[in-house]
Amino acid sequence: MGGIDQLRTIVILMLENRSFDHILGHLSMPRFGNRKDVAGLVDPEVNLDYTNFLDGQGYQPFELKDAPFAHDLPHSRGLVDVQLAKSGNRFTMSGFVDAYYQATGSKVSDPPTMGFLSPADTPVSSFLAAQYAVCDNWFAPLPTDTQPNRSVAFSGYSLIDDTKPRPIPTVQGSFVFEWLNAHNVSWRVYHCGISFFALFDRFEEVLGPAFRSFRQFPGDWEAENVSEMPQVIFIEPEYTDSPVHLGWTPNDNHPPTAVGPGEHFVRSVYQVLTKDPEKWKQTLLVLTNDEHGGFFDHVPPLPISAPVPAGSLFTIPFQSTGPRVPGIIASPWISAGSVFKGPMDHTSILQLLSEKFAGTPDYNDEVKRRREAGIQSVSQVLAEPLAQAREDIPALPEESISASVSLGPTVKPQTDSEQAFDRAARKLLEYDRKRALEKYPELVHLPEK
């Protein structure tokens, strides 16, 4: 198990909807660091390996300035199929522009789907990738959108293949809170606004003492001694699709939100975790995104299928993972500039939890099946740990506001994801209005239906 024995607390932060190449593809470019060891983008503006097509015209990746988008990008199951552009038995990754046109009706010379960000716009992600470990073969487990991928992340299974306004169903006993409780592992969730876990209708937990405002995180981290600290911490951003934003602006990286606020959020998490060097020595930060969000990535998905579990609301099995997403592992037990190239997906986190707290990577049958198909554990990043924890705590780059967030008035939820958050918020209020408003006071502003 290597370095995981040294760890007391595993901190998991899952942002939204960006691909590896979009956030970290710049790492391998000569003008941004020239890291030949990272499978990022190489000469993206002219490299014909990356060309996408729409009506016979070729489109290349281009440097995109971080900013709010006019549109969300396509990432439903059907349009991810278009993006992957399978020809024969090959995923050509050449249909991102086509999918963007199909979804938005916009036909432009610089479709955002082909945009990648520079380190100036992703300063914290780039910093963590340089100072700790970047995983350049971490894939969203399923080639579809948020809810199925988060379902796999938190249970190993998905009983759905799309995002809809309904409770996200789960396989009994597989949900990560159930698993942690069953293994006597202490855990906590720090959330900004409403928690994504409310979408699983886990209201008792969402309203319980293990769910705390992110505002409490710095104080808790400082006040609690090591033995009191939870063994697993989930940190949640303010979700763009939440029905009410009050006290937090969206910082989850979900378009149309820019990544600037998300970078700031990750910065604040890192600052808290590293404030006490002794606690930091027993901490592992796992940072990833739930899915690619419609942004181009040049690496084909892994040919790991996902059968349809019993009780599913869909019938057609998945034939592959989704596209790559950023994967960063930070800990003082990791050398600066590490790259982990093993195949990973969100079940790599569940493998890690199971190894750490149950002595086996096989969290459940589906996680085991994916492991046997090649998915490796996050623990493998620490397979050859340093003899001693690093004493240095690399200083974050200076903060710079690179993109703004404009908050409009509360809008009637339109997308399936917005409606799903809205439904969960209303159900939460119905479940226990008093406790819900104590925990999520912004919900008092939820417009009457």
Partner: protein
């Protein structure tokens, strides 16, 4: 009483507006052709759920507010972005289309997803450029082979073999619009898979273009 009515009106507006204006929708928007020669016109067509705002960058005369359904013609003199917006108090709908006005000489990457077939085997990609996308006045000057392997390119009645890294003018004056085929023969010692791997399952050419006088 009048004051109360006003208050009521405001309240009703506040309650109803989000429901009405929250559904701003663009059912159709197109600009054609999107690649033109200087002096040529493009036609903009749209259909939306409400009155629209048509704007361009750089600005063109004749843009502005319009009916939910309409059609207009413009003659852009340089590359122009057309944006159609259905303004709503809370959430607008928006689409953008770019028009490219090609200068005296212009280059464009064109191509498609490749497949392997035939005997002898070759890897090929076929793609069509519609006249609604590219004006028939836009003509080929030359075709550049970007690969370190020979390509066979065909369009209409013209077939050309282009050596690695070189260009041909055999397509000079052929319209860019139409159906193109790019072939990369599978050489001895190669397999379909190895060729598809080497071109990442896509084939492209660089098309030098100009406008027919």
């Amino acid at each position: 009483m009048h004051r109360m009515n006003e208050h009521l009106k405001i309240l009703v507006t506040l309650l109803v507006t989000p429901l009405v204006t929250g559904c701003a929708q663009i059912k159709y928007f197109s600009v054609a052709p999107t690649t033109i020669c200087p002096g040529e016109a493009v036609q903009v067509d749209w259909k939306a759920s409400d009155r629209v705002l048509l704007s361009t960058l750089p600005p063109l005369p004749g843009t502005g507010e319009g009916p939910p359904e309409g059609s207009l013609s413009f003659t852009p003199v340089q590359d122009t972005r057309f944006t159609l917006k259905v303004p709503a108090l809370l959430k607008s709908a928006q689409r953008e289309w770019d028009v490219s006005v090609i200068p005296a000489q212009s280059s464009r990457l064109m191509g498609g997803v490749a497949q392997c077939s035939g005997n002898p085997a070759s890897v090929s990609a076929t793609f069509s450029v519609q006249q609604k996308d590219t004006s028939s006045r836009v003509r080929v000057t030359s075709i550049q082979n970007n690969y370190q392997r020979t390509l066979k390119v065909g369009k209409d009645n013209v077939e050309a073999e282009i050596a690695p890294g070189t260009a041909t003018d055999q397509f000079k004056n052929v319209p860019v619009s139409g159906t193109w085929t790019i072939r990369a023969p599978v050489a001895g010692g190669e397999t379909c898979d190895s060729v598809l791997d080497s071109v990442r399952s896509r084939l492209t050419i660089n098309v030098q273009m100009s406008c027919k006088e």
